[in-house]
Amino acid sequence: MEPESNQKRKLKNGIRDATIVAWFWAISLFWSIGYCWQYGYLIRKDPQGQVVLETILGMPSWAFWGIFSPWVLCAIFTALYGLCLMRDDPPEPDQ
């Protein structure tokens, strides 16, 4: 078995990863569900009773700001995390 301090460091790295992921999930949930509930759950109509829909890039604006944009931001953050922020461990020998 390798020196204990090395194992302890790996455990700390794992806990750090898990904590960041938990916050990442909570923030995404809060934004997407909150935004879509506020702007996507009420059918807007003009005085003649016609449905009014604002679109961005062909999709409803609530879907653009509530889902598409945060999804792209999440992908960027995930890439940054994977390429720059996540710490490497030396591989373990298979037992």
Partner: protein
């Protein structure tokens, strides 16, 4: 019985065959890769040698299943833009699915020598009972899921074959009741068959005005009249059936042949090549899926009928805005909660929990994480998976929003004239693409199903061979015995599931959601405690696993009971005595008596999906159970060193 296949279908099959040839080659290549001296670890875990590309594509290909390519498209087609919120949780799935447990589970499996997920539970507490329980829960959910996946594979292959109906003539047509028409067909050998056809459901009862039969195309066109407005419905001649000796009801010949082809392909390569075959074919399948959806998005975008200056997705959204779905007001396809209150805000919240958390708790995902080579491989794979999901899910949304404007009603369950929503994916492919291209595009959903089935087959086989046979019943088994056990068990499980899929259940997407959320509820928090919490105990983890499993299954059972009660009470005034008793005893439960979209749907307690309650119960029991029982300091020290 003669089988008539069109020239167009032969072209589709030729292109499809090329893809299957690639899969076969990879299986053969993987088989030669298997080492003789460490068979079990190699067959089930690939000797922990996955690099970034293979890891990324195998994680993505395993997660994307028949549900993604058959069930999800049908839901977008039926419910419109609200499905973007339904699937939105996938924006965090790469992080939750790969990073939350990834580094730690890989490290843990290496120091304990674990090969399977039940191994981890067993090795952490030195508890065979925990390993056996984990194996049984995995078997329960995965066998359910596999039957649904096999069904999807059979349906897809049926669409590729498109066997023509047998030659027949229409003998009689009867308006049997308010909701249906009965058509009687007569074949050349004097055999007769009656087909009951649902009338278009537009809120009022329609009466049949006229009909015309096209014996060459083997179709009947029915025209209904209501308040001066005409509704047409096209009915295909009945498909050829085949009688299976042990089944009482004849089954559709196209589906039967499709299921046989699908099953033999996937069972053979999984049995023959083990983990390496599954991961290498995952790579091919992952590439085929991505290329397939991107090409199909391009074709669908261009096929949308222009509306003024608007084209593509903008025109499709405008079409959806102006459409009224059956039973819903205009605008329901572009705003929440969707037609028929499909996605209430409570369910939207539930699905944002389900996808990220349940995917982290899936044993199939955990096995992939146990097998990567080193953390740089994990980091790079994370980036690839994240881009992969973004591209795939947005392409699917675009494709099937466009599909709704291309086929405004043809594939709707209530008024569709061409088919049911589940067949929209293969139908759209065959509508938009040249047959040779269609063959390649049909390989995309087929690949999605194959990769998931192969991974699940291997997990079931590893649970039986490694966890139950080798580690519980017969620890002295030789490498040779284990090798033949692994081959024969993988093959037998595949065959049994194929037999189960001969008469498949109707609820593809709900079964996939049920099994996915069940595994998440049973395994996520117990596994988190095993990996991160020194104070966790065997009893706490067992309670968490059982609690998550039981609460989720109970809510599904309550939902089925409620659905049955509603049908019984609706059929006769007062209903049967059992239905009345259930209504009296269980009517107080929040969510009881609510209308559901499907008879497989669960009870949504307080408007939330069972996965939320399952996860909460599992968390509370893992935590509380561990605090209330004594933990083994010496055992924990191996995995949680104090220095």
């Amino acid at each position: 019985m003669g089988i008539e296949i069109t020239w167009e279908s032969w072209q589709v099959l030729a292109a499809f065959g090329l893809y299957l040839f690639g899969v076969g080659y990879l299986a053969w290549f993987s088989h030669s890769y298997l080492k003789k001296d460490n068979f079990i670890s190699d067959y089930f875990l690939g000797n922990r040698g996955l690099g970034p590309w293979v890891l990324a594509l195998s994680v993505a290909a395993t997660a994307i299943s028949g549900g993604t390519f058959m069930g999800f498209p049908s839901l977008i087609y039926s419910n419109g833009w609200i499905m973007a919120l339904w699937i939105a949780g996938y924006m965090v799935v790469p992080m939750t699915g790969m990073i939350f447990l990834g580094r730690r589970i890989n490290h843990f499996a290496r120091i304990s020598g674990s090969v399977t997920v039940p191994d981890i539970f067993r090795d952490r507490f030195n508890s065979p009972i925990l390993g056996i329980c984990a194996s049984l829960f995995i078997l329960f959910f995965l066998i359910f899921n596999l039957v649904a996946q096999f069904k999807a594979g059979g349906l897809l292959m049926k669409e590729a074959l498109r066997i023509m109906p047998a030659q027949a003539g229409v003998e009689a047509m009867r308006d049997i009741d308010k909701g249906a028409i009965e058509i009687e067909f007569k074949y050349g050998d004097n055999r007769r068959e009656t087909l009951s056809v649902q009338k278009p459901q537009v809120g009022s009862t329609l009466s049949l005005e006229s009909s015309s039969v096209d014996e060459k195309l083997k179709k009947v066109e029915l025209v209904f009249l209501l308040e001066g407005k005409r509704y047409t419905k096209t009915v295909n001649f009945p498909l050829s059936k085949i009688q299976i000796p042990f089944l009482q009801i004849p089954i559709d010949l196209g589906y039967f042949l499709g299921l046989i082809i699908f099953s033999l392909t996937v069972i053979s390569y999984t049995t023959f090549g083990g983990f390496w075959a599954v991961t290498w074919t995952d790579v091919l399948e992952g590439i085929v899926m991505l290329v397939g959806v991107v090409i199909l998005a391009f074709l669908a975008w261009n096929a949308v009928p222009a509306l003024g200056e608007k084209t593509g997705l903008a025109a499709a959204t405008e079409h959806l805005k102006n459409m009224s779905s059956p039973g819903s007001e205009p605008g329901a396809l572009v705003y929440g909660p969707g037609p028929g209150h499909f996605l209430t805000i409570g369910l939207a919240f539930s699905f944002f929990c389900l996808w990220p958390l349940a995917s982290a708790g899936q044993p199939s995902a955990m096995v992939r994480l146990m097998s990567f080579k080193d953390t740089p491989s994990l980091r790079r794979a994370l980036v690839l998976v994240s881009s992969y999901y973004l591209l795939t899910y947005f392409s699917l949304l675009v494709i099937f929003i466009c599909a709704r404007s291309i086929f405004p009603t043809q594939y709707l369950r209530e008024i569709g004239s061409e088919g049911v929503p589940d067949s929209i994916m293969p139908a759209l492919i065959r509508h938009l693409a040249h047959p040779m291209i269609a063959g390649v595009l049909l390989a995309a959903p087929y690949a999605a199903i194959m990769s998931t089935v192969a991974a699940f087959l291997l997990i079931i086989s590893s649970s039986l061979v490694r966890d139950l046979f080798q580690r519980t019943l017969y620890p002295q088994a030789s490498e040779k015995t284990l090798k033949w056990m692994s081959y024969s068990v993988t093959f037998s499980v595949g065959l049994i599931v194929m037999l189960g899929a001969l008469r498949p259940p109707d609820f593809l997407q709900y079964i996939i959601v049920f099994t996915g959320s069940g595994q998440g509820a049973a395994f996520l928090f117990p596994m988190t405690a095993v990996l991160y919490w020194k104070r966790a105990t065997r009893m706490g983890v067992l309670a968490g696993m059982a609690g998550g499993f039981l609460s989720l299954v109970s809510l599904y059972l309550l939902g089925w009971m409620d659905n049955w009660t509603q049908v019984q009470l609706g059929m006769s005034q007062g209903g049967s005595s059992l239905a009345s008793t259930l209504q009296t005893c269980l009517g107080w439960i929040p969510g009881w008596g609510e209308m559901r979209h499907d008879s497989f749907a669960p009870l949504f307690l307080c408007g939330l999906d069972p996965v939320v309650w399952g996860l909460l119960a599992s968390l509370a029991l893992t935590w509380g159970g561990s605090l209330l029982t004594r933990h083994d300091e010496t055992q924990a020290e191996k995995f949680f060193p104090s220095r």
